[in-house]
């Protein structure tokens, strides 16, 4: 293997240039071209049929017909054929156009030249000159009073839109820390608004409760968003609570805020065998027997526990309001 090329330079291979154009069948054979034309026509006709299907299903088809299709299951015929009609009508216009372009329009590749985006040196200099002259004419550099006052004025005027947004909502004050639960508020079922006796709950049972509404008040979603409480009954012996928290339970009934201490979803999944509460949003898991201690997931705090007691008629009531804010954390929350 010999070579007379002794140069040490790394020479690239040569660019062979754009390959020769290969003609399509329809370019050379008028018959093939005619065939392609017919194919395009057929595609457009299929589209037209799709539109007719759409019109038919829109106008005449009953809403009550269901047809069974494999994979899709039971489908409403009207919805299905409306959709299919529209899909066919649009899709085949596109197919026709693309087939037309691919088989019958010229497929010669064209070469265009690029030019560097950078302007000519003269233009660039002229541009810089114009800017400099303009700035000099305005005298911004020399007139420092104007410069500074303009800065102040512009900066301040930016405050107006911010201030205008102020009335988007009220100030939170201590709203985040308050719920409707007061000492003596009865627990009522949701839905139903019936007061609850301990005997209504069997061991292993779980119920969602809300504070009883005062006469004349209406329950809003924002109240539910803070007041929702989960009532769970287990065997009292299973609790691993300190004396205070144990005194907040009643015969094995324990109550927690249902609003997740992580991001406020409803902690709705209760696993009876493990006594775990799970939030379906981010899987924070709380142990009911240990005052809803976080045993898994991203939540950093237990669910607040509501102290329970019985009123004179034997119904469950809150012994006191929640001792800490419910729901997700916020800056002003004193969690220590």
């Amino acid at each position: 293997m010999t070579s007379d090329n002794q140069s040490n330079e790394i020479a690239p291979l040569t660019d062979p240039g754009i390959p020769a154009h290969l003609h399509r069948k329809s370019d050379l054979d008028p018959k093939a071209a005619k065939k392609a034309e017919r194919q395009v026509g057929i595609l457009f006709i299929i589209s037209a049929l799709g539109t007719i299907l759409f019109i038919y299903s829109y106008t005449f088809m009953s809403e009550k017909i269901f047809i069974f299709l494999p994979v899709l299951g039971n489908s409403n015929a009207k919805q299905l054929f409306l959709g299919l009609g529209m899909a066919i009508s649009l899709f085949f216009i596109g197919m026709g156009a693309v087939h037309w372009a691919k088989t019958l329009m010229p497929d010669n590749e064209v070469v265009a030249q690029r030019h560097e985006l950078r302007s000519e040196e003269v233009d660039r200099e002229d541009f810089v000159k114009t800017v400099k002259e303009g700035a000099a004419a305005a005298g911004l550099g020399r007139r420092s009073i104007i410069k500074r006052t303009l800065g102040v004025a512009l900066g301040l005027s930016g405050l107006t839109p911010l201030l205008l947004l102020r009335d988007l909502g009220p100030l939170p004050k201590d709203d985040f820390s308050k719920t409707s639960w007061e000492a003596g508020t009865r627990l009522v079922t949701d839905p139903g608004d019936r007061p609850i006796k301990p005997s209504d709950l069997e061991i292993g049972a779980v119920a969602q409760v809300l504070p009883e509404l005062l006469a004349g008040k209406e329950r809003k979603l924002e109240d539910i968003g803070k007041d929702a409480v989960l009532l769970i009954r287990i065997r009292p012996a299973e609790f691993q609570l300190d004396a205070e928290r144990l005194s907040w339970t009643h015969e094995g009934i324990i109550a927690f805020s249902k609003i997740c201490s992580h991001m406020g979803c409803a902690v709705a999944l209760y696993e009876q065998t493990t006594k775990h509460l799970l939030c379906p949003c981010h899987q924070s898991t709380f142990d009911v027997t240990r005052a809803a201690k976080v045993i898994f997931g991203p939540s950093a705090r237990p669910l607040p526990q509501l102290a329970l007691a019985l009123d004179a008629e034997g119904y469950l009531v809150a012994k006191q309001p929640f001792t800490e804010p419910v729901g997700p954390s916020f800056w002003e929350r004193d969690s220590s």
Binding site: Q79, G169, P280, H282
Partner: protein
């Protein structure tokens, strides 16, 4: 002259005499666009956007953006008589009592998903082929802006029906706002007009969803396309394609027909999905109430990675001086996405800093020829994929009989360990592919034909590549790493010491490659291919 030609002439004359546009139109109707399937990805995003505008306008005719409580009286029996927001009731009305309404809702939702898929895949194409390099850095940043807005717009869109699932999403968004230090609770109260959920959120995001963001979208998309037009499209390397030319088809008629036809194909495809694949069946979820939830709550896919990050966050909060800082929310929901998107937007500048290359580039890279970039991309993708998997951890758990805990721990460790592994493996694969390219150019393609030589030796016949193929495999440049002086001749250390060292290291890593065959290598081999 045929009749249609005469009409065309008259129209052209009419327009030109009133606008003087003939010169501009002549030039631009003949504009050359390179052809490649991967150039259609951005087109899909554009067309989905148009579909979203059309179907979205249709939906606004009946949708009522109000959180006023109403009693449902429509034709969907299971919810009959139930109290719900007017927004939810009107969405049910569109779905069950407007002919084609459900179809339009489904197309709108499918087109939104397709819009985001197309944006992301288009972004990956642009990244892996180096199309973001000078002079296209601005357009890259515009693209990142569009991606970010798309995520927000999609989230607002699926929040509008005010069903149980979307309400849960809003609840989480509120918790994120609330978690911002110092101003969080104020911001939350301003956004929601008081305590969550209040009665103003839906009307407010409605305005943002149908007016403000689409307006910004239109402006950004216009700028994005004008830049593509003005800077001319990039092209893949190949015989006859250089940095100085653009090879392809003229806009009129080929590209117009193909692109116009493709719009109908995309529209037809979303209509087909809308017809056969049920998406977001809000009537099954019921109206929103803060005390209820559905198991397996999932955001749309483009939010899934964020949700996955939030799910895997360790339970960290700082409690001090009567204040709470929720790192378990701030880090996954704001800080990490902030870093990711800023890094992505700045990447063109970071790469040019690493290579020291300030020239224009119009020829695309084959991903293997930029091993470091390709590896960085694979690393980021792996990160997002792990978080996305974790975003569906509850569904994965039920489908594959795993526990949530197993998946969560896999993700928590995997999100840190797998991306670097992906980087190393991808870089090695790229270098191997370069080696195999070199092999192919020098020794040709294996034909599988064995031949016995007269003296009994068996050899496999290698078929020489065509000159076109050889050129395609060797046309790329291989820049040497930067040589940054760490000290001057007098032995004084570079004042930018650490930065210079870092740049030197980055440049070396970025320019790691297998030497491509030169004309001399090919010549030396001559006929003795083996």
């Amino acid at each position: 002259m045929s009749k249609s030609e005469r009409v065309a002439g008259t129209v052209a004359n009419y327009v030109d005499e009133r606008t003087g546009a003939a010169k501009w139109l002549k030039k631009n109707l003949n504009k050359v666009f390179p052809d490649h399937w991967s150039f259609m990805l951005g087109e899909i995003a554009l067309y989905s956007f148009i579909i979203l505008l059309l179907t979205g306008t249709f939906l606004t005719f009946w949708y009522d953006p109000s959180m006023q409580e109403v009693e449902y009286e429509g034709s969907y029996q299971p919810l009959s008589g139930l109290k719900m927001s007017a927004a939810y009731a009107s969405t049910l009305h569109i779905s069950f009592d407007i002919r084609g309404g459900l179809l339009m809702r489904q197309i709108h939702h499918w087109a939104a998903l397709l819009f985001m898929v197309a944006i992301v895949v288009h972004l990956l194409r642009v990244f892996f082929t180096g199309a973001f390099r000078k002079p296209r850095e601005f357009n890259w940043i515009l693209g990142i802006g569009l991606l970010t807005l798309g995520i927000v717009e999609g989230f607002l869109g699926y929040s509008l029906p005010d069903d149980l699932l979307s309400g849960t999403g809003i609840r989480i968004a509120e918790a994120i706002i609330q978690a911002i230090p110092v101003v969080g609770s104020y911001l939350a109260y301003f956004v929601f007009g008081g305590p969550f959920p209040g009665e103003v959120f839906i009307p407010r995001i409605y305005t943002v969803h149908i007016l403000l963001l689409p307006g910004i979208f239109l402006a950004l998309i216009t700028a994005h396309l004008m830049l593509v037009w003005y800077q001319k499209h990039t092209q893949y390397p190949g015989p006859g394609r250089t940095e100085k030319n653009v090879v392809g088809y003229p806009l009129m008629p080929v590209y117009m027909a193909k692109a116009g036809g493709f719009f109908f194909i995309v529209f037809g495809f979303t209509a087909f999905l809308g017809a056969v694949a049920s998406i977001n069946p809000i009537w099954l979820f019921g109206p929103y109430t803060p005390a209820q939830i559905t198991a397996g709550s999932q955001p749309d896919w483009y939010m899934g990675w964020l949700d996955g990050l939030v799910r895997m966050a360790p339970p960290l909060e700082t409690h001090a001086f009567g204040h709470t800082i929720s790192w378990n929310i701030l880090i996954p929901a704001l800080i990490i996405p902030g870093i990711l998107f800023t890094g992505m937007a700045l990447y063109p500048f970071i790469e040019s800093w690493m290579t020291g290359d300030k020239r224009e580039h119009h020829l695309l890279d084959r991903p293997r020829n930029a091993p470091n970039r390709t590896a960085l991309g694979a690393m980021s993708l792996t990160f997002v994929l792990v978080t996305l998997l974790n975003g569906g951890n509850d569904l994965l758990a039920t489908h594959f009989s795993l526990t949530i805990n197993q998946i969560m721990w896999f993700s928590r460790i995997g999100v840190l360990v797998l991306p670097p592994i992906a980087f190393v493996i991808t870089k090695r694969i790229c270098l191997s592919l370069q080696r195999s390219d070199r092999e192919l150019v020098l020794h040709g393609k294996e034909t599988g034909r064995l031949v016995m030589l007269p003296h009994g030796e068996f050899i496999e016949i290698h078929e020489e590549l065509s000159p076109e193929k050889k050129w395609t495999l060797t046309q790329h440049e291989q820049l040497p790493p930067l040589e940054i002086a760490q000290e001057n001749q007098a032995g004084v250390r570079n004042p930018k010491g650490l930065r210079a060292k870092l740049q030197q290291y980055a440049s070396k890593s970025h320019q790691e490659q297998i030497e491509k065959p030169s004309a001399k290598d090919v010549l030396e081999l001559g006929d003795g291919r083996h």
